[in-house]
Amino acid sequence: MSLRGKAAIVGIGETPLDRLGSKPGEPRKSTAEYLAWATRIALEDAGLSHKDLHDQGLAAIYTTNHSQPFWPEEVASIIGFTPSVALAGGNGGASSVSLLGHAAAMIAAGVVDLILVVAAAAPFSEHGRTRAEPMDTRDFEMPFGVMGPNCKISFVKSRYMYESGMTDDHFGKIAVTGRYHATLNPNAYLRKPLSVEDYKNSRLVSDPIRLFDCVLPANGGKAYIMASPQRAKSLRKPPVWLLGWGERENPTAGPRYRANPLITGIRECADSAFKMAGVTHKDIRCLNLYDDYIPIVMLQIEDLGFCKKNDKDFFEKTDFTFKGDLPIQTSGGMINCGQPSTTGGMLHVIETVRQLRNEGGERQVPNLKFAIATGLGAVNYGKNFGCTAAAILGNEV
């Protein structure tokens, strides 16, 4: 079954992001408070009330520093309602985009006509237990001093530079574009203008990954509400439709024991999403791409099919700003807006909705009809992301 036009996003909620708790004695909020806060904002945005959630659906995303095995039910108890279906986002940073498809399928099947998708994390203000790690990481990376994603994406960036000839000028251009958009986004955290020189002068944390390649951890909560077409048309804000969608878990480019780490599962997600949506690359005028690291944004632009692999020339010539040829990261991305652990990817869905509603303010992409949001999670041993998802959203069916 195609999910095209079967459900729409009707409400979005984003709490301010903060880093409270990083210094002793600061006032702090808990994950539960961010969850309730984001839900309240999303309900208001949709013109719905708390009682409209009764007997409807819930989708909750697991967070690294808080969740336990019964997390979706605990989230229902935090928000205070009794869902008739509970979905779990169990694929990290890809969850927000994966759940677009999972929620739409439930709605299309008629199980419910509203689903609240909500996620929060407070890594600075709530110091959780030591996290459980995938067995490959625990047994075959950590004993060698692999410092998490910084180290693993450094392998990817080092190979990308070697094969493509990209330099820190290319990566710097993407970093500067994101920060420029952040200066125009009142919800962004880092809003001071950045130059390519600033990027190149930022310290190496794991060569060749620099500080300004890296995402900014933060506390915060985010939510969106999906509705059936009938319900969507009667609510406060214009619906933003799910038109195309694709997910791949445990993807591999080549044999699993030696995959190409420069090709992500986004390539196959995009194939599915474009086929479902029935639109072409020329129709898409805005990309909000999962950005835990700058080079990953570039790999996704390639894998979505907007240019060839290793296309230095394309990255040099294209204007990626909101008024440009192919606007990307119009919110400033998680790198500038902050990443509350595995829930950070919600930002890209929320920003895509804002843009398609013409609510982008000073950074609004003109005459926008179709846009893409992506999600990525779990950096796998010897390759790249284990969890991948892409969605094409539009303001008309």
């Binding site: 990376e141 004993p143 410092m147 044999p255 024991y257």
Partner: protein, 144 residues
């Protein structure tokens, strides 16, 4: 002395499981072994109950030469996460993806040479390091 040793923060060691035990037993005996599928001949790494290419459970632990080339590498300059604080005294050090001559990619450390001399495509060979508590880690040094 004993007090200083007690204060030393330990590095994480692999958790031995029925699935990965043969690999670590091999390393302790100076052998680099990995699973190979008897049906499609594909290598299987990291350890799995079935072949990732064809799904067969007819896997056989097979010895490799321990020779390969650096596919990608990084210089670790900062500790990230409490679990890895034990590596602080080693910084800066090199972690790398080594593509072994037989095919599989292995994540390890490059040792026995100046950091500045490490480069992609550098030929390397395995060297076995005693990490304590009965664990031996296969690391890699430049191949002459």
């Amino acid at each position: 002395m004993a007090e200083a040793a007690a204060r030393e923060i330990k590095k994480p060691l692999p958790q031995m499981t029925p699935l990965n035990q043969p690999f670590w037993d091999g390393a302790r005996n100076g052998r680099l072994i990995m699973q190979r599928c008897k049906d499609c001949q594909s290598w299987v790494w990291c350890p799995r109950p079935v072949c990732g290419e064809c799904g067969s459970d007819r896997l056989e632990w097979t010895e490799l030469s321990g020779r390969g080339k650096i596919f990608a590498f990084t210089v670790i300059r900062e500790v990230v996460g409490r679990a890895l604080r034990g590596f602080a005294p080693d910084i800066p050090y090199v972690t790398a993806w080594v593509d072994l001559d037989e095919g599989p990619r292995f994540c390890s450390n490059i040792v026995g040479c100046p950091i500045e001399s490490v480069h992609i495509d550098m030929p390397v060979e395995v060297v076995f390091h005693d990490a304590g508590e009965g664990v031996t880690l296969p690391k890699f040094k430049p191949r002459s």
